[in-house]
Amino acid sequence: MELNVKLLFPEFFVLTAAVVGILIDLLLPKRMKNGFFATFSVFVLFICVFLVLFSSPFVPEEAFNGFVKKDLLTGLSQVLILFSSLIAVFVSYGFLKKFDTDYVGEFYYTLLFAVFGAMLMVSANELATLFVSLEVMSISVYILSALFRKDYRGKEAALKYFIMGSVGAAVIVYGFALLYGLSGSTLYGEVGRAISTLSFPVLLSLALVISGFLFKLGAVPFHGWTPDVYHGAPTPVTLFMGAVVKIAAFVALLKLFYPVFLPLVSEWGEVFAVIGVVSAFAGALMALRQENVKRMLAYSAISHTGVVLTALVSVPAVAVFSVLFYLFAYAFMTVAAFGFVSLLTENGFKGENLSDWRNLYGKSPFLALSLVVIFMSLAGIPPLFGFWAKFYILVALVKVGKVGIAVAILVASVISLYFYLRPVVYAFMRKGEAVLPPVEPFELGAVAVTVLFLIIFGLFPELISQASIFALSSFLRGII
C-alpha cells in the first residue's frame, strides 16, 4: 500500500480548514462570522493556491494506490478552481451582508467542502474516488443553494439540482458499474486496458458515463436544471456552480475519458461534437429574450459548454489544450459575470433583471464599462479573453477538418451575440434609473480584478497558452 499522502496535501489542507471552520463556527458570535469566515476562507484558499503550485508535479505522480494521480493538468485546474472560489468568497462576503442568513459559518465551510470535492475530483484516478468526490461537491452545492433564509428560490433550485443530480449520479454510477464489470477494476489505467472495442456493454457504459458528465456540464438535453438552478441559487453559489463545478467536471472528464476510452476517442468525440453543436445553438436560442441576467447567463453557459464540447472531436492533444484554455477563459468570464450580477443585486432580487440595469452608465461609468468587457468577452469579441478561447476551439476543429462544426458554433455565437449585447444596450442606451446598492469594496475589487484579467489575457493570451501547453504535455505523459 503506497499512500504518498503528501501529494494530497493541498486537498487535505482545505479539508482540515473546513473542519476547523465547523468548530470555530460554534464558538464565534454571529455578527463576527461573516468577516472572520471570509478572511479565513480567503487565507485558506490563497495559501492553498501556493500549495498546489508547489506540489503539482510535471511528471504525473500517484497516491493512495493510484487512486489519485496528479499532474500539471490537475494542478492548473486546481489553481483555477481555487481562484474562482476566492472570487466566490469575496462575492459571498458582500452578498451575505446584503442577504441575511443564520448560517454564515455553514455557508463558508460548506463552500470549502465543495472546493475540496472539486479539487479531489480533478485528481481522481479511480471511479469510486471520482464518484465520491463528485458527490461531496454536489451535496455541498445543494446545501449552499438552500442555505439562505427567506429564500424560496434557492431552495427550489436546490431541490431541482438535487433531483437531477441524483439521477445523474445514479446514471454515472451505473456506467461505472458496467465499467467495473467489464474490467474487474476501478482504476482508470486498468479499466482502460480492458476496453478496446465498442461492444454493446462498453457502448452502454460509455453512453451512461457521457450522459452523467453531460448532465454535470449542463449540455442539451441534460441541461434542464441549469437555467432554473443558476437562476434560483444565490448569486455567489451560482458563480461557484458556473465556474468551479464546470471546471471540475470538465477536467475530470478529460482525465477519465482519455485514459479509459482512448481507443474509442473518435466515437465519443463525435458524440460530444454533436451534443456540443446542439447545446451551443439551444443555449443561445433560449437566452435570446431572457430578462433575468442570471438565467440568461445560465443559458449562455449551456451554449459555452456546447462550444467546449465540440473541441473534443479533435486530436487528443489539441482538444485537451483548447478545452483547458477555454476553461480558463470561461472561468474568468463566469466569475466576472456572476460577480457583477451579485454586485448589483439588492434585496428582493432587484438588480438581477435587465430592466434594473437601465442607464447603468449614468450611475457608475466604471461598472458599465466593466459590463461591456465582461459581456463582450463572453460573446468572444476580440481583443478580450473570450475570443481566444473560441479561436482555439476553432483551430482544434479545423485541424481535423470539421469546418462544418466550426461554422456551426460560430453561427451560434452570432446568435448569442444578441443577448450579450442586451445588457450593454440597457446599461448604455436605455433611459431609466439603474438599481445600484451600496458597493462592497471587496466585491468590487474582485470583479475589477477579473475584468482586468479579461483584458490582459485578451491582449496577451500567451501566458495562458503556455500554461495550458505545459498542463497538456504533463497530462499526455501520464496516459501514454
Binding site: E126, I139, L147
Partner: protein
Amino acid sequence: MREIFFYLFAFLSVAFAVISVTHRNVVKGGIALLASFVSLGAVYFTAGAEFIGIVQVIVYGGAIVVLYLFALMTMDLKSFGKEPLKTLSVAVGGAVSLVLLVSVLYAGYKFYGGVVTAGISGAKEIALPLFYRFLLPFEVVSVLLLVATVGAVAVGRREE
C-alpha cells in the same frame, strides 16, 4: 435453493419497487420501498454478498426509509392532494425506461459473464479492500456524511 430464493427475492424487490413508485399513498409507497430494499438485501445475501446485504437492510431499511417516513410526519399528508397523471409524461417515461431496459438487457446478453460463483463475502472480506485499497474514498465518504449532516440540519431547520 439459493437460486430459488434469489429469483424469489429479486421478483419481490421488483414488484415492491413497482408498487412503491406507482402507489398513490406515499406512506404505503414508503412501506413498499422498505419491502423492496429488504428483498434486495435478501438478494445480495443469496448472492453471497452478505455484508452488503446486511448493510443494505440497515442503511436503506433502517435509516433512509425511516428518514423518509419521519420527514413525512412533519407534513400534512392531506395537503398532498391528488396527483394528476400526465399522459405525455407517462408515455415519455415509459418509452425511455423501456428503451433503457432493453439496452441494459441487451448489454447483459452481450456481456460474457457466465455463472456467478457464490463466494461469501462477509465483513472481514470486505474490510480488507475497503480500508486498504479504497482508503481514500472511504475517508471522503466520511467527509460526505459530515457535510450532509451539517447541511441537512442547517437547511431543514425551521426559519423564524
